[in-house]
């Protein structure tokens, strides 16, 4: 792991094109990346960033152009290698946007799978292992040492024997990086590593990435929407829009580039918070009233004596680190997990113990984390699914309302939902929930993995839903500034307990909240 000097291997993409059917996802793209540097690829959702990554890491065969990795020894055409050889020959490793760990295996096992080639020695070493020869045991010992080294460095050593799927979200992201590093890569491609992390975790991630490039001499390619990370760690930024490169340069150059601002950054992203907050409403009656709620999975208690109220017509936001219990709280309203004690009143009646479909029928709709749309069905079909509880005669009017809210969906009503960009899928998830004609809408991290401009669009829509249709909203967010910007009140959860509660403006000004959840956001602008 000796640090490589500048002038080491260069990853070069020349004239890259990728066509899916009639859609040109990437059009004549050129860029290069060096070891020892962080090269960020940014752009709106659907700009072709992940497609470019998939070409570089061999998951797609590009329809045109070439990808090479070159050093003193010569150049290697990556796009001509079979997928599984990219790791061993070109030494390019990657992580995934929606974490792909071996969830049922321990953290250590995940890292050992990454060292499969070294440990199996073309099968011969394994045969020795089968009969218990010392050569294999020595190799295994070395592999475990290496794995534990990386786990230790990513702060995961104490969790080595825990199943990967049981780790908190932030640690899973780190574990995926550790696993990729066990491949001894020259280049590491990270697809939205900060998605779903809070600002403090993101800052930690940024420091880790700098260390990888500076100490280990690795080239990092980074797709990321979190501008605080991108601007702080990148040496070079490549901006894509509609599959084309619209800009390339240092963070400073990119930040001031008018083309990038128009296509991607939008207005300065701290601005939402500064916007006029909704006027104080007269105190209304509680629509959702949770008292001393306890819930958990099996023996693990996640929520402890939690009190929370959402009044009629309010937007209430629920903040907190990953694993604080925010999503669990939303799910427990539907009885999954079933609360072990406490009281949940909705519109004046207890909903504890009601089956999920009856809770939905009472008027609570849930747009879950990760969207959970039906990918193989069209936009319109997805909306029909959402509407199956409401009056069929109202369907057209309701669908038109959703289309008015999100005109992008109207253009795509016949398109399969799974082929849309992340932002459009999020719009559909919200639209589907609205088709249920809810009186309370639960939104779980609607901004996850979205570009700043799209986030703004989504948040405007949320405010619109609340103001014009009078739908009460309970919003779970990592993006605290944005969420508090539109919310009336907020709650901050920590390890299943409410630690702060109050009007959104008060929370925004509280130093301890700025420290924990808002820190680093200022760097984005």
């Amino acid at each position: 792991m000796s640090a490589m000097i500048a002038g080491g291997p260069v990853l070069a993409v020349r004239g890259l094109s990728m066509r899916f059917g009639g859609i040109l996802a990437i059009d004549n793209l050129d860029f290069s990346a060096k070891t020892g540097e962080v090269t960020a690829v940014i752009g709106p959702n659907g700009a072709g960033k992940t497609t470019a990554f998939n070409c570089v890491t061999g998951f797609y065969k590009p329809t045109g152009g070439e990808i090479t990795i070159g050093d003193e020894a010569g150049t290697l055409r990556i796009d001509r290698l079979p997928g599984h050889k990219i790791v061993s020959r070109a030494r390019i490793a990657r992580t995934f946007q929606n974490i792909r760990l071996f969830a049922g295996m321990t953290a250590l096992e995940n890292l050992l799978v990454a060292q499969h080639q070294a440990l199996s020695g073309g099968g011969l070493l394994q045969l020795q292992g089968l009969v218990g020869l010392p050569a294999y045991r020595a190799a295994e010992q070395a592999a475990v040492e290496k794995a534990m080294g990386w786990l230790d460095r990513m702060g995961l050593a104490a969790r080595a024997n825990d199943e990967a799927g049981t780790l908190p979200y932030g640690l899973q992201r780190r574990l995926e990086i550790a696993r990729a590093m066990c491949l001894d890569p020259r280049f590491l491609c990270l697809d939205e590593p900060a998605a779903g992390l809070n600002p403090r975790e993101s800052a930690g991630l940024g420091a880790d990435l700098r260390r990888l490039t500076e100490e280990d001499g690795i080239g990092v390619l980074l797709i990321e929407h979190d501008m605080s990370v991108v601007m702080n760690v990148s040496d070079k930024i490549v901006v894509l829009d509609y599959g084309r490169k619209i800009a390339e340069g240092t963070p400073r150059e990119i930040r001031d580039n008018p083309k990038v601002i128009a296509a991607y950054l939008g207005e300065a992203s701290g601005e939402a918070a500064a916007r006029a907050k909704p006027t104080e409403r007269p105190p209304a009656r509680a629509l959702l009233d949770i008292k001393r709620l306890n819930a958990g999975y099996g023996k693990v208690e996640v929520l402890h004596d939690l009190d929370l109220t959402v009044n009629q017509g309010e937007i209430v936001t629920l903040l907190g680190a990953n694993g604080a219990g925010k999503s669990t709280l939303l799910r427990s309203l539907f009885g999954k997990p079933r609360p072990s004690s406490g009281e949940v009143m909705f519109g004046g009646r207890s909903i504890i113990g009601l089956p999920a479909h009856e809770v939905a029928r009472l008027g609570i709709a849930h747009a879950p984390e990760g969207r959970r749309i039906m990918p193989k069905m069209t936009v319109l079909e997805n909306l029909q699914i959402g509407a199956h509880l409401s009056d069929p005669r109202a369907f057209q009017a309701d669908a038109d309302k959703v289309f008015a809210l999100f005109p992008r969906l109207a253009e795509r009503r016949k398109q399969r939902a799974g082929t849309m960009s992340g932002g459009e899928q999020q719009m559909l998830a919200i639209g589907r929930a609205l088709m249920q004609r809810p009186s309370l809408l639960l939104l779980d991290e609607p901004s996850l993995g979205l570009a700043p401009l799209v986030i703004k669009l989504i948040f405007d829509a949320i405010r619109d839903i609340n103001e014009t249709d009078g739908i009460t909203i309970l919003l779970v967010e990592q993006n605290a500034t944005q969420a508090l910007g539109i919310a009336d009140r907020g709650y901050v959860l920590q390890t299943g307990r409410v630690v702060h509660a109050g009007p959104a403006s008060t929370l925004l000004d509280m130093p301890e909240i700025r420290g924990a959840y808002l820190e680093g956001l200022g760097a984005a602008t």
């Binding site: 998951f59 997928g83 599984h84 050889k85 990219i86 790791v87 061993s88 490793a93 990657r94 995934f96 792909r100 760990l101 071996f102 969830a103 049922g104 295996m105 321990t106 250590l108 096992e109 995940n110 050992l112 799978v113 060292q115 499969h116 080639q117 440990l119 199996s120 394994q126 292992g129 089968l130 218990g132 295994e140 475990v144 794995a147 534990m148 230790d152 702060g155 995961l156 050593a157 104490a158 080595a160 024997n161 908190p168 932030g170 640690l171 780190r174 696993r179 491949l183 975790e201 990953n322 694993g323 604080a324 079933r338 072990s340 004690s341 009281e343 009646r349 207890s350 504890i352 113990g353």
Partner: protein
């Protein structure tokens, strides 16, 4: 659970009544043709006899049972208590586990010598061990690699027919034929593997189901080679290191009983067969548990968890799936070879889909990927129909109900949960390990 406000209670009762009423109605509709009407031929002529009291009785029973279930939270709430150790994969500490293993092995070895072990008991134990071995073999494919194989019996058949043909045509003995049968089945596994392994989930299951049937139909119709429906008879029986089990040796040699000075008993041969399958099963156990701790075993499990991530780590999914398929097939072939030797006669009858289904049920019921689970499930699936003999005609009904109940109470299999293939020594890290702030 916190009890709701009192005004909710009538609504709940009302609903329970409605549910019970629906169940009773369903029973009424179903039971009139099946139970209410009976073909009566007592007076020499056929007539219909009506039994309204039976139907009424059944309807009342279902109505009450449904009400009771509603009040007590359903069948799932009644779950019997299982030892908690079974939940997280059985892990016993060394002194206890060593004693336990020694005890089980001792019992297994002593079993044929026990006074109560007659022909029936030894035969039952032998077929139990065959299923255990088949279960461990299929466990590689289904439990570890996560490839749903509904045609596993094809490899079992391949092993059996390999030995049958080698024995009747070339007079090759059991011990030489054993590795050859394994090889033949493994080759067949590879051949099947190449075209189908791009498929996933349901599609793979359908194709393997078809494959199993194709093999059976070939065996049935290729009469010149396989003897068609008549099968192959006169397959050589395993000898005790060259000594036959017989009253008199064919050409004046010694027999097993003569050498040891025992009176001849057909039980000797059965006991020997039992020891052979016990040894084969233990070998399979050692083989598969070793494999699980090797890179290939972890690669199988990784493939089950996420194929795309495997590709990103430079693993070649085709090779990994093929090894799982062929090694699983090989173990099936070995078991098949033993089966042919035990029976002395094989025919396509023994290799029907229901056989595949039973082996798969053993793996699923035991808890996917769990070795001990397979043993318990095999005991349940082989033993239950036997215990049920006293229920005579209701035997399969009891068997089916037991399966349903097990799946309700233990949806993850009898022993769910997985023990890691390797454990890190954390003593170095626990103290200094940097905790990541939440």
């Amino acid at each position: 659970m916190a009890s709701g406000p009192s005004l909710e209670t009538p609504a709940r009762d009302h609903k329970a009544l409605r549910n019970a009423g629906l169940a009773a109605l369903l029973t009424l509709v179903l039971s009139i043709p099946f139970i209410g009407i009976r073909l009566d031929d007592s007076q020499g002529s056929n007539g219909l006899a009506f039994r309204p009291q039976w139907v009424a009785g059944l309807v009342v029973v279902v109505f009450v049972a449904r009400l009771v279930l509603d009040q007590t939270g359903g069948l799932a709430a009644w779950r019997p208590r299982f030892p908690t150790g079974l939940k997280r994969g059985l892990r016993l500490e060394p002194p206890v586990s060593t004693i336990l293993i020694a005890l089980v092995l001792g019992l297994a070895f002593a079993f044929p010598l026990a006074p109560f072990a007659s022909r029936y008991e030894i035969g039952l134990a032998t077929s139990f061990l065959i299923y255990v071995m088949l279960g461990w073999g299929l466990n590689i494919v289904v439990g570890l690699a996560g490839l749903l194989d509904l045609g596993y019996v094809a490899f079992y058949a391949a092993g059996a027919y390999t030995f049958g043909l080698l024995s009747t045509h070339f007079g090759i003995g059991f011990w030489l034929a054993l590795p050859l049968s394994g090889l033949a089945a493994a080759t067949l596994g590879m051949l099947l593997g190449f075209p189908v392994l791009r498929l996933r989930g349901d599609y793979l299951a359908i194709v393997t189901l078809g494959f199993g049937e194709i093999i059976r139909i070939i065996l049935l119709n290729w009469s010149d080679l396989t003897g068609g429906p008549n099968g192959i008879s006169g397959i050589g029986r395993p000898s005790f290191f060259g000594l036959p089990f017989a009253a008199t040796a064919p050409n004046g040699g010694t027999t097993f009983s003569k050498l040891f000075g025992l009176p001849f008993s057909p039980l000797h041969r059965l006991a020997w067969l039992y020891y052979v399958i016990l040894a084969l099963a233990l070998l399979t156990l050692a083989f598969t548990s070793r494999l699980r701790r090797l890179p290939i075993g972890r690669a199988w499990e990784a493939l089950r968890e996420d194929e795309i991530a495997c590709q990103a780590l430079g693993l070649n999914p085709t090779v990994i799936k093929l090894t799982a398929f062929s090694l699983g097939a090989m173990l099936g072939g070995l078991a098949g070879c033993f089966f042919a030797a035990k029976q002395g006669f094989i025919s396509p009858e023994s290799f029907t889909f229901s056989e595949s289904a039973i082996i798969l049920a053993i793996v699923v019921l035991g808890g996917m990927g769990n070795q001990l689970g397979v043993v318990i499930a095999a005991a349940v699936l082989v033993g239950l129909p036997e215990l049920g003999r006293s229920f005579a005609e209701y035997r399969m009904l009891v068997f089916g109900m037991a399966m349903v109940l097990i799946m309700i109470w233990r949806p993850g299999g009898l022993i769910s949960g997985r023990s890691p293939s390797i454990r890190a020594d954390l003593s170095r890290f626990k103290a200094t390990g940097p905790e990541v702030a939440p």
